[in-house]
Homo-oligomer: 265 residues x 4
């Protein structure tokens, strides 16, 4: 068994769907954005993916129950413009081969659902907390960059600013090119400290997606909510182990509980 | 060859057997508990499991003879309540895929032997030695947690207290859920120092198991024996390499021998 | 899918082609040499190789677009003497098995194209920057060493000077012997600092190749150009992460751009 | 391709052959012993084993030529007592699964050649250089330990003295038990410093083998030769990288050459 995919409900007919990827990574910038969009737009779960190549551990959720690590695909039919496919999850595949295989599988799904574009999200780790994080972009064609740059604060001069883009966020761009699927990455500056949650960078990416994809998400409410949570988060993340950041993100949208964090073997 | 399973004697007919897992982990809390139960109840060995994905080394036992690392399943027919299946061993599978495969194999056996529940045991590593270790629990259903919490000092508010539960102790819970087998983990606080043997935490878990599963193990004797060994252990573990803890645990129930410990290549 | 090989144009008829390997390694000495030869001689791309065992990341190129890591084979028909096959790339296969498989595949191609010899290039890491780097050689037969040593400053007394030769540069030599293909390695002294780009050592190797293979490359221009770039490089590499060295090398032949370098997850 | 085995000459008819393993390990104690026996007894090469799971590197030999890492089996017909099979090599298989597979393959050969016993050799790493290294033993039966202990300075009280025996030296013992082949390990105390060559410990093991297997090797000459080399070695090993120890050992029996050692990528 390599990949186990569970489908929820019927396969929808989507209009030029754009896949937005937001798996864990630096500052969890992409994860914060996609998890927030799924909640705000009440997106519908379509697939749950599971693999023996995921980390061999379970998470404890807010109900004190365990959950195997999973990666999920949601969809959302939109009134205006492109429908959405949202790639969210607790983990990324661990090794190189699994990461390539997983990314190919995601692109298979995009093609099956007649998707038109892929957007991947990530963070650029800085040595300190950026006051106003800039968002950079790169992609697999000049055309998609030109399209998304228009009318928003998006910096395409990324050459020399970043090293390789590691993991699913990078591979989806490169492998999409082989299939002639236009793909772009939005990378927001964030603090590279392992405990830092890049909510400020996530907010900047959300602004761009909101405008370009007409998401109609109310950013004012988000700004307020994030500000509060951010303060609390930073104080708490000092006590959190690296792997516990997942828990931290879940709390972004939920209650804050628990007293003490340790690693269990 | 991936897994080699050797059966001892006939497959028994068990009454709603509960599997208790106690493989090596933080403080070896689970291992101490399950090895002790096997000895006290004179449980019967049913399976010996061996795999090329286990560590590529042999241990030297009390008879100065070598032993390949193995994982074993014992059973014990009980007069009252559920029969027991006991999962004990020297090692855990090393990599992610093997750990998933192994855990599925264990659950196959539980189903074959008409097991009704799975209990996994582990430690929560603290920065210092806890005076009176608390036992936390999590599981794959509210129902099994409610059942085991009743009448004992078991803390279910574990969310935010621990990060992911890594290895067989975690995967058994998550994978059991996919098969509708109720599963619960008992996690005792212990000192996270790699040389520390979590006998105090093990004792707290034993108390709970003793009561809930009517094991009829005399804890007074255990308390006394453990106290003596613990003092000796702590003094000695300073000289022990990480891999030698296995040896240390064996001595818990045996004689104390040898003068000096080193690693052999 | 293990290896994906894309052919460009027709397979050429080559005259006793010599394969020169220059993949990333210590000081990227070999990579600098082979990338420079490809540019100067306007060599023709024949194969592009791609594998899931390559690093799971993409690079951002000078056009701000992403590129999957690839390894390429170029050829160049020469007026005098042997034709050339040039092995260049962004990466080396990651694990042992892939590295062996890849090297065998390269030798398959050499045999198919009726290649006559293999030359691999690399660096010998010193504790400081060598003023005038020496070039050492080793190979799989006394005969090829004698042939290349004649008339150039090449030191064959390498026994005891270097440890094992790791990666494709080493395996091509050893595996070529099994196929009776003469193979030699040119290893130039360089500074072992991970950020240092071994252009001085590369220059020494180029001198030797230029003479022995009659490449007719103008070294004066190269010397001047390299000197300028080297100064700039050393200042900049302090800010570069290890993985960004690839970017650095690309810049050797292009413009210098960008302001700040970080790692993206 | 997993294992490539090359046979030299005809398969010999051996009289109750004893396999002695001496692959690289702590202090290279076993390697020094077996390489010395092969030279002294002029043993005949029977098999050369090669695998893609070996380290992906080549060594430079005394002739300044490269060699792929190999493991070899030699045999020696003896006038008195058991014939010998000698397992020598540059490397050990890297990962767990390969190490198990390799050890099984060796035992297949032992059975095919009607071998009667297996002896593995290794070092016990101490914090300092032992003046007179003790030799400990362990094995897979009381019988073989009793047999070899008789009349020599061999300490069988090893329980608690060592942790797990890692690699081929350990697995051969454990896996031989599954085939009912008596197997014993001789482990000599040595200095655990990665650069230290355990010649003193090797000498103690040689004494035992010489007596018990009637090897008729003149230890006086060896003692003198080793003493000289040891002094030189210790001075030189300070400059040697870990991987270069192989080179160092080769020199034990050859000339001392070269000036400076570095690692090549």
């Amino acid at each position: 068994m390599t990949w186990k995919i569970k489908q929820f409900g019927k396969k929808p007919k989507l209009n030029k769907a754009v896949l937005i990827e937001g798996l864990p990574g630096i500052g969890n910038v992409g994860k914060v954005v996609v998890d927030f969009i799924i909640d705000e737009l009440k997106a519908v779960k379509l697939y749950e993916m599971f693999s023996y190549t995921f980390p061999h551990s379970v998470f404890v959720n807010e109900n004190n129950l365990v959950e195997l690590p999973t990666i999920e695909i949601y969809y959302k039919k939109m009134k205006n413009g492109n429908d959405l496919l949202l790639l969210a999850g607790d983990v990324q595949p661990i090794d190189e081969v699994s990461c390539y295989e997983f990314s190919e599988k995601i692109l298979d799904m995009v093609e099956e659902l007649k998707g038109s574009e892929v957007i991947t999200l990530g963070g650029i780790g800085l040595q300190g907390i950026p006051k106003k994080p800039k968002v950079f972009c790169t992609g697999n064609s000049k055309k998609i960059i030109a399209k998304y740059k228009k009318g928003v604060a998006l910096n395409e001069n990324i050459y020399g600013v970043v090293g390789p883009i590691v993991g699913v966020s990078g591979l989806l761009l490169g492998l999409a090119e082989q299939r002639k699927i236009p793909a772009i990455a939005f990378l927001a500056e964030t603090y590279s400290h392992p405990m830092y949650l890049g909510v400020k960078g996530a907010r900047e990416i959300l602004k761009i997606l909101n405008k370009k994809l007409e998401l109609n998400i109310k950013l004012k409410d988000l700004d307020k909510e994030i500000k509060e949570l951010e303060t609390e988060m930073m104080r708490r993340t000092e006590e959190l182990s690296d792997v516990s950041k997942k828990t931290a993100i879940k709390k972004l949208k939920g209650r804050i509980g628990g007293e003490e964090t340790s690693y269990i073997g």
